[in-house]
Symmetry: none
Subunit: 220 residues, 4 copies
DNA sequence: GGATAATCGAGACGGTACGTCGCGTCTTCAT
DNA sequence: ATGAAGACGCGACGTACCGTCTCGATTATCC
C-alpha cells in the first residue's frame, strides 16, 4: 500500500551501533531515558544466537530472521541494537572473550613475539578465525564498524608486535635501519595469507620458522 | 524411433561450470554433444556483463538478474553455464586477460622477483583487485571453482616467485637452509595483508622495502 | 554472505488461505494473533487487481506477478493470503458482490424459479461467467477453495431452486413422485451445457422454454 | 542474444494441426514431399505419452517437455505435428478409441436413447472423462481444435440423441410441439453438470431417472 | 498512583533476488 | 526434409531475507 500519511522524520538519532557494537558499556549515557530501558540480557541473547549461527553455517548462515528467532526476540529488537546484518555479525564476533591474550612476558621480547604469533595463529585457525577473516574481506572497508573490527582482531595484535620489535631493537638485538612496519606485515600477513589461500597449514612449526626467518632479516 | 525401454534416469550431471569456469579450452570433449552447442558469444556476453556490474558496484552488485538483463540473456541461460552467483563472478574475473604477466626477464632472478611483486601489487590495488580479494574470502574454500580462482590469481604468481627464488638459491645468491615456502608467504602475504586491512598503502616503495627485507632474511 | 547453506526446515503450515479465501468472517479466531494484523485493505486491493486482470485477459491473464504489481503489493504478501494462483482467482470472483440475487418473490414459486433461472443465465453469459466456468473446470475438484467456489456460484443457486420446486410441490402444482435432484440438474445443467459447448446461445427464450419443458415433466 | 540476422519469413504453412488433430488420415496429401516423410509411429508415440501423462496428473501434467521426453522425441518434433499444448492434449484424447459406441439398436428409439446416455455417462465418469471436461472448459472456445474436440466428444453424441428423439416423435411416441434442442440439453447438460460440480454421483440409476423424467416432459 | 514513553515479541508489509520450470523457437548433426 | 538433442529468450513460479511498520503487552520513569 505504501501511503506514507505521516512522512515522519526519523525520530531521533540513537547511538545504537557504534558504541554498542564496540562493546563498550563504559560509555553508558548518564541521562536515563524515560521509557523502558533496553535489556542487556537481550543483547547478549542476540549475540549468542548470532555466534551459534555463524559457528554452524559460517557468516552466510547469519540471517537477521534466524538470529531473531533463535534468540527468541523480535526482528525490530535486533535492529534497535544494530543497523544491519554485518554489524550484528561483527559485534557477535567481537563480543567473544576468546582472544589471544597478550602473552605472559618472556624474558626476551623476540621470544614474546613468537609466543604472541603462536597465539594469534591459533585463533585464526579456529572456526571463528575463518569467520573473522571472511567478515574482514567482505565488509565495506570504510565503515566504522569494519574499522573497529579490523582493529580489534588484527591491528591491535599487530601493535603489540610493534612494541615488542621496538623493544628488541632498543635492546640492540636487531640491526639498525630495519623497517618495522614492513616486518610486521611480513609476520601477520603470512598468517592471514595461509588462512585465506589454504595452500598450506598453519601450525606451530610454520609460525616458528616464520618468526625465525623474519627476525633473521631484521638482524644481520 | 527410440523406444524408451529404460524410462530414463535423471538426465545426468552436466559438467557445465567446472571446466567452462576454469576457462580451460584444453578439456574440450572429443565427443561432440548432440544438441545445439552452447554459444561462446553468449558466454562472453554474460561474463562481460558480470565484469561491468562488478566494476560499478562491487561483488554485491553482481546479481544474476542484472547480469542476465545486461547481457541480453535469459536467466536460465546464465544458470546453464554456472551454478550460482559466485561461480559467475569468479569466471568473470578469471576470464579477464588483464593479469600481471610474467615479467620480462631481468638478468638477476631477485630483480625479476621484485618486478613481479610490483606487478602483483598493481593488480591488487586496482578495483578488480579489491573484488578478487572479496571473492576469495567470501567463497566456500573447498569448492572447485574457488580453488581454481585462488590458484589463478594468487597461487600461480606465488609459484612463479618460487621459481625465481630457487633460481637465485642455485646461483648462490641466497644462503643455504632457507625456507622458501615461508619466504613466499612473507612476500605475498604482506601484500594481501595491507590490501585487506588498509592500515597502510601499497606503493612501489613499500614493495621494494618488502622484497629487500625479505631477501635480507634469505641471505647470510 | 547470502548463501543459505542449510535450507532450514519448512517453517510450519499456516492456516492462511482456507478461512480467508472462503470469505467467512464467521470463523474469526477469538485469540487475537500476536503480531501486526493483516490489513483488509490490502486484501481488497489484491482482489480488485485480480478481478481487473481477469476482466482484461481471462483467467490466464491473472498472474501472481501482475496481481502484485497492480495492487501495489509485494509478491510474498499475496502468497501470505492465498497459496496459489487459483485460490486468488476464486477469492477474487467470490468477493464480488454482483451475484444473481434471490429474485423478488413472485406469487407463484414456478414463476420465481423461471425468474431465478433468467438471473443465473445472465450471470453465466457475462465475461465473469465465462471466467467462473473456466475456474471451476480447471481447479482441483477436491480442494476446499474449489468446493467453496462451486457452492458459492452454482450450488447455492441450485439450492434456492430446490426450495422453490419443493414449495410448488407442496402447493400441489406438481405431480407426486417427481425426482427433485434430477430436475434441478436438468435445469442448471442445460444452462452450463450451452455455456460450455457453445452450440447454441443462451437467451431468455431458451430459458423460458427450458423451464417450461422441465416443469411439464414434473406435472402429471 | 536475439540478433535475428536472417529475418526469415515463416517457411511455409504446414497443414499440421487441423487435419492431423482431427485424426483424419483420409486427407493424406497426394503430393509426396521431398525429404524424409513424417513417421506415423512417432505421432502415435507422442499421443501415447500425452495420454499417459494426463492419466497420471491430469491436463496440467501434460507438458510439452514431459511429452517429448516420454515419447523419446525432440520437442520440435512435437511442435511439427501440433502447434501447442492444448492441441496435443486434445489430439491425445480424441485419438483414443474408447468412445461410447453407437448403441446396438434396440427396438424402441427411447430405449436406445437411454442406452446411449448410459454409455456416455460411463465415459464421462472415467479419469479420461474428467480430463475431457476440463479441457473443454479451459480451452479458448473459438479455436478450431476446440470445436473439433467438443464435437467429437459431446456434440456428436448429442446429434445421435437428436436422431433418436426425432425418430420417436415420428413414431408418435412423443407429443407434438416439443422442443428437441432443449430436451437434448436437459439430458446431456445434466450429465455434464454432475460431472463438473461433483455434488452427486453419476450412476445408472441417475441416468435412468433422468431419461425417464425428461421423456415425461416430452410426452403428456 | 496514574499518565507517558520506550521496549519487547510477533509478524505483516513492500521489496529484491533467488533458483526453477515450462513455453515455443532456434541451431546443430545424423538419418 | 525429418528427427533427436538441447541451447536459447522469455515469463512466471513460489521462497528467502531484507529492513520497516504496526500491533498489544510490558516495564520503567515522571508528574
Amino acid at each position: 500500500m505504501r501511503v506514507p500519511v505521516k512522512p515522519v522524520v526519523k525520530p531521533v538519532l540513537k547511538p545504537n551501533s557504534a558504541a554498542a557494537a564496540a562493546g563498550s558499556p563504559a560509555a553508558a549515557s548518564p541521562v536515563r531515558g524515560r521509557g523502558r530501558p533496553r535489556s542487556p540480557q537481550i543483547r547478549d541473547a542476540i549475540l549468542r544466537a548470532a555466534r551459534a549461527l555463524m559457528d554452524e553455517a559460517g557468516p552466510a548462515g547469519l540471517t537477521m530472521e534466524a538470529v531473531a528467532e533463535r534468540a527468541g526476540v523480535g526482528k525490530p529488537t535486533v535492529y534497535r541494537w544494530w543497523p544491519n546484518r554485518h554489524a550484528v555479525a561483527m559485534a557477535a564476533l567481537m563480543d567473544d572473550a576468546a582472544l589471544p591474550k597478550a602473552a605472559a612476558r618472556k624474558r626476551s621480547p623476540l621470544r614474546a613475539l613468537e609466543q604472541q604469533m603462536l597465539a594469534v595463529s591459533e585463533t585464526l585457525a579456529s572456526r571463528q578465525g575463518r569467520n573473522v577473516t571472511a567478515m574482514i574481506a567482505a565488509a565495506d572497508p570504510d565503515t566504522e564498524v569494519a574499522k573497529a573490527f579490523r582493529h580489534h582482531f588484527v591491528l591491535a595484535r599487530r601493535s603489540e608486535g610493534r612494541a615488542l620489535i621496538e623493544e628488541a631493537a632498543q635492546a640492540g638485538e636487531l640491526r639498525a635501519g630495519l623497517d618495522v612496519e614492513v616486518a610486521l606485515d611480513q609476520l601477520y600477513g603470512a598468517l592471514f595469507f595461509r588462512m585465506l589461500m589454504g595452500h598450506a597449514g598453519i601450525d606451530a612449526g610454520f609460525v616458528r620458522a616464520l618468526v625465525k626467518q623474519v627476525v633473521r632479516g631484521l638482524t644481520a
